[in-house]
């Protein structure tokens, strides 16, 4: 599971006020090379919840889009797309409910009483 994915997901269990970001429990993190697409990165940057990405990877705490040249672009790309979390789980920040991740695929299915 990429951090891009983690940055988009939220625990929407009934009654949860703020289910984002999910906490990450990770057993294994690997790196997979992904070709950098600057246009994509520039366009997705405003959608990213920066703090959540910072906490999940090592990035400067403050960022704005003017930084998206050179070195920072590479760091952003690496964190967003090249870090792969395997055999992990995502955890609801309020209820501690675990959403398992297997083979990089988080199962966000809510149970009937959670909807």
């Amino acid at each position: 599971m990429k951090l891009l994915t983690h940055n988009m997901l939220s625990s929407n269990i009934k009654g949860v006020a703020n289910g984002f970001p999910l906490r990450i429990e990770v057993e294994k993190a690997t790196e997979k090379q992904v070709e950098l697409n600057a246009g994509f990165l520039r366009n997705v940057f405003p959608m990213i919840e920066w703090k959540a990405l910072v906490d999940a990877a090592q990035l400067p705490e403050v960022a704005d889009s003017s930084m998206l040249d050179s070195d920072f672009l590479n760091k952003f790309h690496h964190a967003l797309l090249e870090l792969h979390l395997e055999k992990d789980a995502l955890v609801c920040p309020e209820t501690a409910r675990r959403f398992p991740v297997s083979q990089g695929t988080p199962n966000m299915l809510l149970l009937e009483d959670e909807v």
Binding site: K2, T5, M8, E35, G39, N107, L109
Partner: protein, 364 residues
């Protein structure tokens, strides 16, 4: 038991009797219990319960198609229904458009409509018309006047725009209207056409009633729709696992409870329709889905993949990460159950993401 989830695609065809004909030909039904059939209960009681949610359902349907129509058209063209294939054939997505047209022709043939365009229907209503693919095809084929209705303003607008662009504005016109209250007088149409829209109708009785009401004496009504398997004589309802599975799909696609082919036949018989025929076309639409999965390599195929992933992932409620490393989509997640959509950038274009995909997402 396989939990492959191809819906049973049933075709119904009726001819409306001339008022003076009293005898009724019993329908010949070929309904099979198929291993691949998804099922959920859709007794009349269940349908009654759905009535309360109808307003929300209508709004959900309109929004769903408003949001996803453009993307769908990008991938599938202007027909928003399954293709008709030779069973067990291997097909690629490029065969799809021809197969969708074949679906229309097979339905017409099943209904016994003449191949001779001069003997065909002259006025057609397309109930649940999408962006008007069927209507424009029928308008061309029969030189008929076709009117389509849809709940989606975006679709109606697009349908009219396409008709104008193709020089068919005088033959094919579209408006926003509810199939349960069609804005047409009684007996207006020679051909009443419902191609894969019946599954959205929360009140099957009202739906069928309206189809019959607007049909002229001697007209033909063609319904191609998703049904669940017919219940065995000893069964009151579908199995719990079947209900559960289908429920998930219903949530994803803004579908009310399903009914069986036999339920439709009973409705049609109660309205004194003649020559009622049905067929199970599951084998002919089944090749559609593996083809989609295999060939899902581009954004253009993405939505169809997502829809099928939603279905094939045992009812469509997990989050699936899709990796694409060619400047297209980088990461995408899929889940069932609608929630407001969001925009994702793909190859420089911002596209609305269909409502089916957004349950576990934060607001963007």
């Amino acid at each position: 038991m396989t939990t492959s989830v191809f819906p049973t695609c049933q075709l119904l065809h009726t001819c409306r009797p001339r008022p003076h004909l009293l005898h009724r030909t019993p329908g010949s039904t070929t309904s099979n219990r198929r291993q691949l059939t998804l099922a959920v209960t859709a007794t009349t009681r269940a349908m009654e319960a759905e009535r309360k949610n109808d307003g929300a359902l209508k709004k959900g349907i309109a929004e769903f198609y408003d949001e996803s129509s453009g993307m769908w058209e990008d991938i599938w063209g202007d027909h928003m229904h399954h293709g008709f294939y030779d069973p067990d054939s291997t097909v690629s997505v490029s065969d799809h458009r021809a197969a969708q047209i074949r679906m229309i022709d097979e339905a017409l043939r099943f209904a016994g409509l003449s191949e001779d365009p001069t003997k065909g229907p002259k006025s057609v209503v397309d109930v649940g018309c999408g962006i008007g693919g069927s209507s424009r095809y029928l308008a061309r084929k029969y030189e008929a006047k076709c009117q389509g209705i849809t709940l989606s303003p975006v679709q109606a607008q697009r349908a009219n725009a396409l008709a104008a662009a193709q020089g068919l504005a005088d033959k094919a016109s579209f408006q926003v209207a509810d199939a349960l209250e069609q804005p047409f007088p009684d007996g207006q149409f020679d051909l009443v056409w419902s191609m894969e829209s019946g599954e959205h109708m929360p009140d099957k009785a009202k739906f069928v009633n309206e189809l019959v009401r607007v049909a002229a004496p001697g007209a033909t009504i063609i319904i191609v729709t998703w049904c669940h398997r017919d219940l065995a004589p000893s069964e009151e309802a579908l199995q719990p696992w079947e209900k559960e599975l289908l429920n998930k799909i219903c949530k994803s696609y803004y579908l009310p409870a399903w009914c069986s082919t036999v339920d439709y036949v009973k409705l049609l018989e109660s309205l004194s329709l003649q020559d009622i025929k049905t067929a199970d076309w599951s084998p002919y639409v089944a090749p559609f889905w593996p083809a989609v999965i295999r060939s899902a390599l581009t954004w253009k195929d993405m939505t169809s993949l997502l829809r099928s992933v939603v279905e094939l992932a045992g009812g469509g409620v997990g989050v699936w990460e899709w990796n694409r490393d060619e400047g297209h989509l980088y990461s995408f997640t899929v889940a069932g159950a609608g929630a407001p959509g969001f925009d994702l950038q793909v190859s420089g274009r911002w596209l609305p993401v269909p409502l089916i995909l957004c349950s576990p997402f934060r607001k963007l």
